[in-house]
């Protein structure tokens, strides 16, 4: 007896790939850390929503033209640019949770109190790429606020 067999077609494979891509996009979309891919001169090619949120206090939303990570971070610290420029290897960790303080938000809105005040920056050169920087941004505000509270409790 002949049995009908269904073999995957190219359109099935394409649909599966699309579904997989959509799932990966959603995964990165909801990541609770900022993810940025940039060239070695700082031009941003990819960034997830949390990265746009964490960089907002550095006036990410103002301005025109291309997005340059070093130019954006310069408003708080030029250190990442220097660390990348002086990094001698072709792969590896450039910095790990390098902490920078963000400028204070000028706003009367009570919601501005929730704005991040410090970022942790982890930067890597990915293997197999000659001009690709991967940067992970974390909100270090809670840690800094705790440090300040502890400092205010210290006996004088």
């Amino acid at each position: 007896m002949a049995m009908s067999t269904s073999t995957p077609t190219s359109s099935d494979a394409e649909a599966a790939l699309r579904a997989e891509l959509r799932g990966l996009m959603q995964f990165v979309h909801l990541a609770p850390v900022g993810l940025v891919q940039a060239s070695l001169d700082g031009q941003i090619s990819l960034m997830n929503p949390m990265a746009t949120q964490l960089l907002a206090p550095l006036n990410l939303n103002d301005g025109m033209g291309v997005f340059n990570l070093f130019d954006i971070l310069d408003k708080a610290s030029p250190d990442l640019r220097t660390l990348v420029q002086t990094f001698k290897r072709t792969t590896g960790v450039i910095c790990d949770h390098y902490r920078i303080l963000l400028p204070e938000i000028e706003s009367d809105s009570p919601a501005a109190l929730d704005a991040p005040i410090a970022l942790g920056i982890t930067a890597l050169m990915l293997p197999g790429t000659s001009d690709c920087l991967m940067v992970v941004l974390t909100d270090e505000s809670a840690h800094i606020k705790l440090q300040r509270i502890k400092a205010s409790w210290a006996p004088s």
Partner: protein
């Protein structure tokens, strides 16, 4: 209807979903709990999300975590707490398919309206 129309909130509130689909900018309408009730065709096309998937999601947690901050979500919270209307337009950067994109956002809230809106106008490259 232009993005900067002064009576846009009243018009958007009165429009049916199919009428919202005709607008040349993105419309995201959500209720007091943040649940998305309106998501027009322009926004779905530009963001590459399916309308049926987005409706019922939480706007600031599931759809647009990049708006869950003092600039956008906080403005709605402030306006609700103060019982005052909100109509503010601001430059913003959204991440569409992980590509940073400059847009204008218009935030609309009225204490007497069941829905509040984020409108998204993409800038020409």
């Amino acid at each position: 209807m232009p993005f900067d129309s002064p009576d846009l909130f009243d018009n958007v509130c009165a429009m049916s979903p199919s009428e919202l689909d005709e607008l040349p900018f993105g419309v995201i309408g959500f209720d007091e709990q943040g649940i998305i009730q309106r998501y027009n065709a322009h926004e779905a096309s530009m963001a590459d999300f399916e309308v049926d998937t987005v409706l019922g999601q939480h706007v600031f947690i599931e759809l647009a975590p990049c708006l869950n901050n003092y600039l956008v979500a906080g403005r709605f919270e402030d306006s609700q707490a103060q019982g005052s209307p909100l109509d503010e337009t601001m430059p913003y950067v959204l991440s569409f398919r992980m590509r940073p994109t400059r847009v204008s956002l218009r935030l609309l809230f009225s204490p007497s309206a069941p829905l509040r809106f984020v409108l998204v106008q993409r800038h020409l490259a």
